[in-house]
Subunit: 212 residues, 3 copies
């Protein structure tokens, strides 16, 4: 009976976590929460498609780029493809946070056609951009100090959503996040299924100091 | 071995229920099943957005109101926000039913940015509106007799999808449901993630009497 | 402790499979992977809707037909309805494969309003259509040799996603799949929630022989 109670509780807890966006962790980079992709390296365009420059929105971002900030539902193709085996993505979070971890997700092995497009060597940076700059177009500007939050390798043999802790607290409060990938798993282009950013919101005193 | 068989069966059953829209209960208020939001109190508009009166469709309903009749997939933001800490929503079900229970859902604690927008003191009413009235615009009319189906408190410490039984059978067959919330959990606006209505379809004799 | 470890592993494995598009099997008929519906029998049109001939796209396909190649998320209504109790659907896969199994899915019993629209006696055929024909409009042409891949009955008492093995290897490499249903479970129209096609990609030598 003890065992049965244990099994029941375990199953319920694990399904609850799965139902809670897969990880049960707050994601400040979620599109439906207000996060936005503000910049990215050249997208990979399928043959015979509309030319890239015609698809750009006013910020120079591809209309499909937001897919990186949305759930993938176990479906291959629910990603944003970037040209080549290296590139970057910059996002503005839904609100300023003290970052604790990031999650990079690719499609699960069991349903993937090909995982050579998965990113491999990755770096995550973060910084704070004042409300004026953020409102004015939000591209990352030269000269801004970016803090390294995490450096990791996305491993095809592990779970498809891989979470990496932020080791340093140097960054303090951030609202901008940039993912740079220097390599992928062998393909001619690189697909980003989803990037999540975890952490906690600063108290209002700390935030008002930063913004003043 | 008995235990292993028990565990396997338990896991399969619980995942099956989860895959069946989370609860494994028929929902007559589901948008993809044909239910429609026909009226609601003033929506909460984000700063700098389009003014509300410009967004109204011909029935006076916000285009995003249907989100209350759709799955939320564990994502904060997949809801419809109403102004203030009290308000209401009226829906027409996909078909007339004898109501047995309602489910009110908010976002799960583990992924929420803030749950002060969850409704608290709630009342669910139901009534039958003949096909002519329903076709003609479907706003709830004064003078129509509404039956109280359930009165409850949405509790932040329980599971995020909370089901409440309909205690009385006075209402008989209904195709209209109204949720009134008199308070929320402390926020300046109130978000409704999803409202479901459970029950069974009446036999055709009972239904034809009602409609004649 | 052994039991606990067993339970934990079981739960994680089953949730991982559920998260991997429900079955943890690659689906070459998935819309987000590039598969497309190219032909179908007459759709079932809801009363008072736009007439069917006005909705046809240039290939004679209804804009909602792609729903058959997308996840259903346990929601009744996320399907494509065809007129009557018999009909067919033809699709072009994302890439040529050696087919091993097909999965036909209807809505789960626990959330269904009515399952009389489920298909019953089914046949799956497959064949290869060269790139020229595929590009030129992709309707199935008379005289093309179609191979029978599977013949089965969709059973309302089993799991809602039912997988059937391809028994014969006669077909070889295929990129076209046709589902014919000769009966349904009693309703006036037939809903196809989802059709999946499983298999493996041929080596490039085999493929280039076929295409030359
Ligand atoms: K995605
Ligand atoms: K929702
Ligand atoms: K579907």
């Amino acid at each position: 009976d003890d065992i049965r109670a244990f099994a029941k509780e375990l199953v319920e807890k694990e399904i609850e976590r799965h139902a809670a966006d897969g990880l049960g962790m707050v994601d400040y980079a979620l599109a439906s929460g207000g996060a936005v992709v503000v910049e990215h390296s050249e997208p990979y365009m399928y043959p015979k498609g509309t030319p890239w420059y015609k698809l750009k929105n006013q910020n120079g971002v591809h209309p499909d780029a937001q897919k990186m900030l949305e759930p993938s539902f176990g479906e291959p193709g629910r990603c944003f493809p970037l040209k080549g085996n290296n590139g970057f993505v910059t996002i503005i979070l839904r609100s300023p946070i003290i970052p604790e971890a990031v999650t990079l997700e690719h499609v699960a092995k069991s349903v993937a056609y090909d995982r050579s497009s998965a990113p491999k060597d990755c770096r995550i940076s973060g910084w704070f951009q004042g409300p004026d700059a953020a409102a004015a177009g939000a591209q990352s500007r030269q000269g801004e100090k970016k803090f390294l939050l995490s450096e990791f390798v996305y491993d095809l043999d592990k779970s498809n959503a891989q979470t990496f802790k932020v080791e340093s607290t140097d960054a303090g409060i951030v609202n901008m996040i940039r993912l740079d990938f220097a390599s992928n798993h062998g393909g001619p282009h690189t697909c980003i299924y989803r990037l999540r950013v975890h952490g906690h919101e600063p108290d209002s005193v700390a935030l008002s100091k930063l913004e003043s």
